[in-house]
């Protein structure tokens, strides 16, 4: 029941927003976001309580003979993912109050639609429905970029983004259908059984299909080249949605579909995927080091972190997956934070060329302080949310492939290299003529940044509520896999 409500709120709000017109669109959206958050927290509260089943799951037949149903369930993993959406949505909406958009009701409507589809993808237990939500999320963001971006090259960039990700996810569809062909149902449990009944090499092929889909979206080297340009051209709210939540659908897909369904396919025939993930870390870090512009730098850094994420999840053990879940949440928060910092800087400087900045700390110590914590979260310092995830991921990954972990682990070093460099060249040193007049944070920016920073630290210091909610689900997911 709650799952339906979670799905209905943004959907309904989206329609309402588009119908009601521009005037109160953003407040409506914010309200919907906060309501969503409250209900998600309610679901958190219900989790594990006696008789909460009826509240947290929903199941109706859709296309019966084909084994497709409207099935949703909020187990521990889905709860965390739902939290990711419900937590970031109001923040992103509130963060976008900084800017004014043309036809805001459509802008926020699309945003809410996207939230609905992501919520759907994270909570459904039907394979096809997952695919549907996964794909559908593309549409709103596509239009958000196409219509609200001011990038001169946006048409080409969005096209590439759309086609590339669509191309990838079609492979997922093939793999899903291949499994379905055996199971006769899209119920995830049935898909797991179908997958496990396959021979190792068959699993390897099916895995390849899934991996291409997810690797494009996450993205993992060498399927990433759509991403930096897309982040660059999207309006900041769009980038936040993309980097913060949408990409997690892919990693969530790995958790939900790949790991439990194709254990042998990943373990025996998936080493290449792990290697690609590890290379991804190195490659993206290298690219990040080469960037002059802050937004591109964080775009690349995102790829680097997600390389670790992909590798950790694919290692298929409890540590890797728990780490993955934690990292998804944390990376979501951090991405939103980092891109919000971009938004703040861009709104004052009208550019994000790091070499032309410096000394902002002197002018605006509060901003620098908050930004520093975000940076520390991004370099995965203990007691920030980034660390818990990243460490668990590496821990999980190590059990599968020590040498590749050593490669992927370089993110610990390289991440510090580029993030500190960015922080240093923007914030430290003497202020120059351009940064001299860097305006103080307005109350609204302060609020957003403070909430994000608190989240970063709170989740790093006390991640237990998340981890212990997810843990039973992760263990039941891995049940029957002898690894």
């Amino acid at each position: 029941m709650l799952t339906l409500i979670l799905l209905a709120i943004p959907l309904f709000a989206a329609v309402l927003s588009m119908a009601a017109g521009a005037k109160n669109a953003r407040n409506l959206a914010l309200g919907a976001g906060i309501l969503e958050l409250i209900i998600t927290l309610g679901a958190f509260f219900l989790n594990g309580k006696e008789g909460s089943e009826t509240w947290l799951t929903f199941n109706r037949e859709w296309i019966g003979p084909l084994g497709i149903s409207y099935a949703f369930s909020l187990d521990g993993i889905s709860l965390v993912m739902a939290l990711l959406v419900a937590l970031l949505l109001p923040i992103i909406i509130y963060a976008s109050f900084n800017r004014t958009f043309k036809s805001p009701h459509y802008f926020y409507g699309l945003m809410l639609l996207m939230a609905a589809s992501m919520m759907g993808a994270f909570t459904t237990t039907d394979g096809l429905l997952f695919y549907v939500f996964y794909e559908f999320a593309l549409i709103p963001i596509y239009f958000m970029i196409l219509y609200w971006s001011e990038h001169p090259n946006k048409a080409k960039i969005t096209l590439k983004f759309f086609i590339y990700t669509l191309f990838g996810s079609l492979f997922m569809l093939v793999s899903l259908l291949y499994l379905y062909n055996i199971s006769g149902s899209f119920n995830m449990q049935a898909l797991y059984e179908a997958g496990r009944s396959l021979s190792g090499s068959e699993q390897g092929w099916v895995f390849a299909g899934f991996f291409i889909a997810f690797a494009v979206k996450i993205p993992v080297f060498p399927f990433h080249s759509w991403q930096p340009a897309t982040y660059d051209s999207a309006p900041t709210a769009g980038t936040m949605l993309l980097a913060g939540i949408m990409l997690k659908m892919a990693s969530y897909g790995m958790v939900r579909l790949v790991v439990p369904a194709l254990p042998e396919g990943v373990a025996e025939y998936g080493t290449w995927a792990l290697a690609l993930s590890a290379i991804s870390v190195l490659y993206a870090s290298g690219m990040a080091i080469a960037q002059q512009r802050y937004k591109l730098l964080i775009a690349w850094s995102s790829i680097a972190h997600l390389g670790v994420l992909s590798a950790g999840i694919l290692s298929g053990n409890a540590q890797g997956i728990q780490g993955g879940i934690m990292e998804m949440l944390s990376h979501g928060i951090l991405s939103v934070a980092l891109f919000f910092v971009y938004d703040i800087i861009e709104s004052r400087m009208n550019h994000d060329d790091m070499s032309k900045m410096g000394g902002i700390r002197e002018v605006n110590p509060l901003f620098a302080f908050l930004f520093f914590i975000i940076v520390m979260g991004s370099v995965a310092l203990p007691l920030t949310s980034g660390f818990v995830g990243e460490f668990l991921l590496l821990l999980g990954f190590y059990q599968v492939s020590p040498w590749l972990t050593a490669v992927a682990g370089l993110t610990v070093v390289l991440g510090a290299v580029y993030m500190l460099r960015a922080f240093q060249s923007m914030m430290l040193g003497p202020a120059n003529s351009a940064t001299q007049s860097f305006a103080p944070l307005n109350s609204h920016e302060k609020t957003v940044l403070t909430i994000l920073v608190i989240l970063i630290i709170a989740l790093g210091v006390y991640p237990d509520p998340i981890l212990s909610v997810a843990n039973p689900s992760v263990e039941s997911l891995l049940q029957g896999l002898n690894r």
């Binding site: 037949e61 859709w62 296309i63 019966g64 003979p65 084909l66 096809l128 695919y131 549907v132 939500f133 794909e135 559908f136 593309l138 549409i139 596509y142 239009f143 196409l146 219509y147 048409a155 969005t158 096209l159 759309f162 086609i163 669509l166 191309f167 079609l170 492979f171 569809l173 093939v174 259908l177 291949y178 379905y180 062909n181």
Partner: protein, 459 residues
């Protein structure tokens, strides 16, 4: 039977109204007639009516035929509403064209209900001959002439080939009845004669549905024909051809010999590759959609490939959803091109979102549906095809389908990009209320039909 009578009489009635100078009544009468057709089809549901059964009845209105009839009738209904704007009310041109469409529709109904190769042949011809005329119906327009002629000529050639195939089958079986053919083949053995015969029939149909390498006519004809006619061709004509083909290959020529599967797989593959890749470089949206239509034919051929295990309802679903999308897109093109000197290039769509939001949004929905993006029904159509093809273990074909789908999305999105690219001082495009409403309803339908796909199981 009543269906055929209604549709034929409707055509005649339209002509009569023309003669009686009551042309204003044409459209309402057609509406009523088509609604009646739909109603009758629903009333006949489950009766398996076979008219003139005592003489070896040549049509059977089973549920599949009825649902095809309903689909065709509904699409036609929508077509008439949308096309109503394009032909000046009260002219004889309008009545003539509408009558031709109705006659052609009669052929479509025959094709979905035939049980005899004679009927098949007649159905194909009744379907096609009016369309030859329709394609050429802009009499002063050389492009339209050219389209009509090419279509007519190659169509006749295909008819001849189809006929030769029918003849050879008859030679081998001694009857035109589908049932007889199926009995003849029940042992699974194909004698050379029937093998050749069915190959020729396959080619005859391959032409009608425009799959490679027999598709070359389609882009030219689609582009040259008046846009409403193109819309009609890509929806009902194509759907009816598929209905006929599916029936032939699904119920008569079973089991399909191995060589056929391979040949069809090959045809699908080159269809998808050739059409999608060529579509990428098109600048004219109408021609681009023609290639897209070919590509969809390639997909739908997948149902024929797997006809032994596929229920026709999935083909019906695909036909319906593709037709809706196709109607929307062609009519939007029509309206966009009409006010800018028949320019249907991608650039002509720039700023459409401001110039006519309804058309822009419905066009977008239609294109996304054709691209197969959920939650639009075009996705489920493709999904059904791919599931079936996977079930038959043609993995290579699946991969090609997938890759070409992605390529397909590319050219659809290019149009969408244009729609949402703002331009300066764009005037609004005025279209009639009925068109606007119809387009809006159709695009909503594309979403609804996705979620209501379970209704399909009623068939």
């Amino acid at each position: 039977m009543k269906e055929i009578v209604i549709i034929s009489l409707l055509g005649i009635a339209v002509l009569a109204l023309d003669v009686l100078k009551m042309r204003k009544l044409v459209l309402p009468v057609i509406m009523l007639g088509l609604l009646g057709l739909i109603g009758v089809s629903i009333a006949d549901w489950g009766l398996n009516e076979t008219p003139f059964a005592q003489y070896g009845g040549m049509l059977t209105f089973d549920n599949t035929a009825l649902s095809f009839t309903i689909v065709f009738a509904s699409i036609a209904l929508l077509w008439f509403i949308l096309a109503g704007d394009n032909y000046t009310a009260g002219t004889s041109q309008r009545t003539d064209i509408f009558a031709l469409v109705l006659f052609s529709l009669c052929g479509a109904v025959v094709l979905s209900a035939y049980t005899n190769l004679v009927m098949l042949f007649l159905g194909v011809e009744i379907l096609s001959i009016p369309v030859y005329v329709l394609a050429a119906s802009q009499r002063k327009n050389v492009l339209s002439n050219e389209a009509g002629f090419k279509y007519f000529f190659l169509g006749s050639l295909a008819s001849a080939v189809l006929l030769f195939g029918i003849s050879l089958c008859y030679g081998a079986v001694g009857s035109f009845e589908l049932k007889a053919i199926q009995e003849h083949l029940s042992g699974g053995f194909y004698s050379p004669l029937i093998l050749t015969g069915s190959a020729l029939m396959l080619i005859g149909f391959a032409f009608k549905i425009s799959v490679a390498p027999f598709h070359l006519w389609a882009p030219d004809v689609y582009q040259g024909a008046p846009t409403p006619v193109t819309a009609y061709m890509s929806t009902i004509v194509k759907g009816a051809a598929f209905a006929g083909m599916f029936k032939l290959f699904g119920s008569a020529l079973q089991p399909l010999p191995e060589a056929y599967s391979t040949a069809i797989v090959f045809m699908i593959a080159i269809t998808l590759i050739a059409s999608n890749i060529t579509a990428v470089v098109q600048t004219d949206t109408k021609r681009m959609l023609a290639f897209s239509s070919i590509s969809h034919a390639g997909f739908m051929l997948g149902f024929v490939l797997t006809a032994s295990t596929t229920s026709p309802k999935y083909l019906i679903y695909y036909t319906l959803t593709y037709s809706i999308a196709s109607l929307i897109s062609f009519f939007v093109i029509q309206h966009v091109a009409a006010i800018q000197n028949e320019d249907a290039s991608t650039d002509a769509f720039k700023g459409l979102i401001k110039r006519s939001p309804v058309m822009a949004v419905s066009m977008t929905v239609a294109l996304l549906s054709m691209a197969g993006i959920p939650p639009l029904s075009g996705f489920l159509g493709k999904y059904y095809v791919i599931t079936n093809v996977i079930e038959h273990e043609h993995m290579a074909l699946v991969i090609i389908m997938v890759i070409t789908s992605a390529i397909g999305a590319f050219y659809y999105l290019r149009v969408i990009s244009a729609i949402f690219t703002p331009i300066e001082n764009a005037g609004r495009i005025m279209v009639s209320d009925s068109t606007r409403r119809t387009l809006a309803v159709l695009s909503v339908l594309l979403v609804v039909v996705f979620f209501a796909a379970s209704l399909l199981e009623l068939l």
